[in-house]
């Protein structure tokens, strides 16, 4: 049978009552901070509660930026809104600098009754904001992955408080803030994933329906492998008037949705210009003018060639794009063409050069993603090695696919960070002699 306990000692009663009150506040705050995953909202709630519990003049949270290794003011609550804004914009602390820096470095709670007597006090914040700090409680916020930041309760009027309860409260804050971070990251990752899916389907919709095309003695085949982040590669082929055919390859600056949207404009502008102009240089000049007003410095590297499908006469114009490879017999060389800068940057007069192909010749157009692919050690394939690979496989068929396989093999176990596009233009090319 349980014994009845009679509490007669008023002191004990007082202490117990305080504990109960403190625990009430704790459970209340726990419920509130568990109610939101919104980081900004949570930080404000946390600070308001801490300020209320301690009857403080101001409160702030400095978050630890792992990249810069600095503490940055994230939330500051005080009577003057302007003070909060100044703190957020202007003040960062190194680990070890000021009271918050000391707390972050030592990971210990610090209670200072008179900051003027403490050498660690960082006067600069008060100087900038005009706020007067007299006393401070600063506590490290430690999560499962280490330091999150520092919470500061400034000029608390409440002199009697239970340190143990305060520390439990701070631990609650840290866990809630960390959970909000995880949630924010998860939401951001999901948003990016959706954006990349949109970009990827947009990009695919701009490319030709079929990866191969032929006209008279010309055959064209292409391989395009979009990177996970969706780069800005594009290619197109056009059946032009007479015996001519146009082949275009380009690479838009940037990645993701922005690049995919710019590609939409490029493809429609290109098709219009290619229909209106007779020579590759005239098409390039027109596109350069059209893209000169592209936002955010966006530009395009490109190669456009027009080929006579019977005579094998090829006119080519290049705007900052990697050289094509010319395969004639067993010989492979980079086609030397005087290139202008990428399109959309500066006024420029682009030129065309003429090359006459022999029957059986092939031209390989590609984007920089092909030879800038990296392996596990961070080494790039390089243009020279790519030329060597083509030389070694020159007598085999399906070269675009073989090049793509070579790049994938070289970069195995590394995520390909840029699109790969390889377009082969054959003139009277009968396919592989063997292999």
């Amino acid at each position: 049978m349980a014994k009845k306990v009679y509490l007669k000692d008023s002191e004990t009663l007082k202490v117990l009552k305080k504990k109960v009150d403190a625990l009430k506040i704790l459970s209340e705050i726990s419920a509130i901070i568990s109610s939101t995953f919104d980081l900004d909202e949570l930080l404000t709630i946390v600070m308001e509660k801490a300020k209320g519990v301690m009857n403080a003049e101001a409160c702030s949270i400095l978050l630890y930026n792992k990249e810069t290794k600095k503490l940055e003011f994230e939330v500051a609550l005080c009577r003057e809104k302007a003070t909060s804004e100044i703190l957020k914009k202007k003040i960062t602390l190194d680990l070890g600098q000021g009271i918050a820096g000391w707390v972050a470095e030592k990971r210990e709670i610090l209670i200072i009754g008179d900051v003027r007597k403490d050498r660690r006090f960082f006067q600069e914040a008060d100087n900038i904001t005009g706020f007067v700090t007299k006393s401070i409680i600063a506590a490290p916020l430690i999560g499962r992955r280490g330091l999150i930041g520092v919470a500061e309760i400034i000029n608390p009027k409440k002199k009697e408080y239970d340190l143990e309860v305060l520390q439990i409260l701070i631990r609650h804050f840290a866990i809630a803030i960390e959970n909000a971070f995880f949630y924010k990251d998860a939401i951001e990752r999901e948003r990016l994933k959706q954006e990349l899916e949109i970009a990827s389907s947009l990009q695919k919709s701009f490319l030709p329906d079929s990866p191969s095309f032929s006209k008279a003695l010309i055959t064209v085949s292409a391989v395009n492998i979009p990177a996970k982040q969706v780069g800005g590669d594009l290619y197109d082929y056009l059946d032009l008037s007479g015996h001519r055919m146009g082949v275009f390859i380009g690479d838009v600056s940037g990645k993701g949705v922005t690049a995919a949207l710019f590609m939409a404009k490029i493809i429609s502008d290109f098709r219009y210009a290619a229909g209106a102009e007779k020579t590759p240089d005239a098409v390039m000049n027109r596109l350069n003018l059209l893209f000169s007003r592209a936002p955010r410095g966006m530009f395009l590297t490109a190669t456009y060639l027009i080929i006579d499908a019977f005579a094998g006469i090829l006119d080519i114009s290049v705007a900052g794009h990697p050289p094509c490879l010319w395969i004639t017999g067993n010989n492979v060389e980079a086609l030397s063409v005087d290139s202008g800068p990428p399109l959309g940057i500066i006024p420029e007069k682009y030129l065309s050069e003429r090359v006459t192909l022999s029957r059986g010749d092939r031209i390989i157009l590609l984007t920089d993603g092909v030879f800038e692919a990296r392996n596990k050690k961070g080494h790039m394939i390089g243009f020279g090695n790519l030329v060597k690979f083509v030389k070694d496989h020159v007598r085999e068929g399906h070269l675009p696919q073989k090049i793509a396989d070579y790049v994938r093999d070289f970069s195995k176990s590394v995520e390909i960070s840029d699109d790969l596009t390889i377009v082969e233009v054959g003139y009277g090319y009968e396919g592989a002699q063997h292999g």
Binding site: G297, H321, I345
Partner: protein, 109 residues
């Protein structure tokens, strides 16, 4: 990526270290456009500590170049590491940007 902005003979020197890519270029853009908003007449970009740049990073500088040209400002690069210089030459961007070996050559040009 880290950015340090200093003064040098009437111009601003923007020293960048690390990788300039699609993730870091928005911060570079913010700092550059802030200076351009103040109509800085000379901006020098110190590339000595840049380990990598992708087309997003180059586009940021293209935007800076175009914005500065609008009011007669000059954007100059110096100390470009060899690997990055190859990308610039290969893409004919060496015809777009003013590129110098060191800060003195850039300032005295």
């Amino acid at each position: 990526m880290n950015i340090h902005i200093g003064d040098c003979r009437g111009g601003k020197v923007v020293a960048i270290s690390g990788e300039i890519d699609m993730y870091s270029s928005p911060e570079l853009r913010e700092q550059m456009m802030n200076l351009i908003g103040q109509r800085i007449s000379n901006m020098l970009i110190d590339f000595r500590q840049v380990s990598y740049i992708d087309s997003s990073g180059i586009a940021t500088f293209v935007e800076g170049l175009k914005s500065m040209k609008n009011y007669g400002g000059r954007l100059r690069f110096f100390g470009i590491p060899q690997g990055i210089m190859e990308i610039f030459s290969f893409s004919k961007l060496d015809r777009v940007f003013e590129i110098y070996g060191n800060i003195d050559d850039a300032i005295n040009s």
